[in-house]
Amino acid sequence: MYVEYEGLWIAGGHWLFAFAIIYWIWDDSQRHSKRAWPWILLISLGDPLGTYLNNIYRYEILPSRGVYPYLVPLFKYRSDYFIEPVWILDKIFFWNTFYNVVSWTIIYIVIFWIYLDCKRSNRRATPWISVARFIQIAPFPINYFIPLGGYTGQIFILVGYLLHKYGYLRRK
């Protein structure tokens, strides 16, 4: 069952988008001679509180607290232990994988398109790119107050950008 090996299932290649986004912000700020640091900082905050909470349960730390995860043999499926059969967990697992691929594709394409459009029309792209990225990786508990992860947030950003572009969201 796939859910037994969850630590193995990490997809590569995401760093290329982080690379592209950092480049676009600096490049855009250079072209417009504007400050970049607040926008770079916004997407470089990391997740201190999340790190704190995750490290409490980090598997290397658990033995010092009397919990020995590696003494537990590899997960064996016993139907009487579970309310639902494991194949349902596998289905959910693959559905989440598929949903993530679709969702992040939309996220990256929206950011990419905004950058290209701003470059073409000589507009400043940095605030849009930075906020679009920030809402995806917002640290805990900010991500609970701004629950705009997934492609929903990008729809907000895209609509906001288009409204601004056509003069609806500008200060008089």
Partner: protein
Amino acid sequence: MSLGVIETGLIIYGIITVYWTLLGTYMLVKTNVIGVKAAPLIILYSLSEWLVGRIMYIFFPEIPPHPILILSGILNAPQVILTTIYVYVNTGIIKIRWTRYLLLFSFYVGVNRLLTFIYRFSPLPEVLVLPVILSGWAGYPAWFYVYVKSNRVFTYKNASIIIALQILAWIVPVFMMYNLNQKYSLISLTQQILNYPITIITLIFLDRYRLRKVVEVSSSVR
């Protein structure tokens, strides 16, 4: 031939990795971040980094995963260069001599990995805290070359303030670990927060340097 769970999962995640790599490289080429000739290299690097990571995970899942820690730093080094120094150089913010920079940076990666190897049998949280702190000093030649020597982003005085802040950010976790007997979760939180002032100051100075240069160029054009 029927495939097992691991083989099937790896094929699916391999396909996803190829997809992200191709999409990311397309965006990088399309926006002139990298040239067409560099694209195959980036694709090859990104795929091999993922593959090596997965192979390491399968063969060395022990606690803590030292071979992974040692190799991951070496594999991540090109990413660190691309997402910082390459961006600064290519967008015209700073100028460097690549050979000199790469030699200094390789020295840092070498010391960093050597310390991880030396400390591989240390208890937790030492193995997670000490190699990072002790190898930190080895990063300074490259840092100093880029920001102080090759480009006047920092004056010597400002550079020394940042170095002092960094030393403070190293001392506090050690003090928390040995004198206060704090848990690693709290140490890791403190480490992240203590790095904020250094990041902010570096970014502000980089911005000031960059914008000052723009003003100088535009006034010389007039």
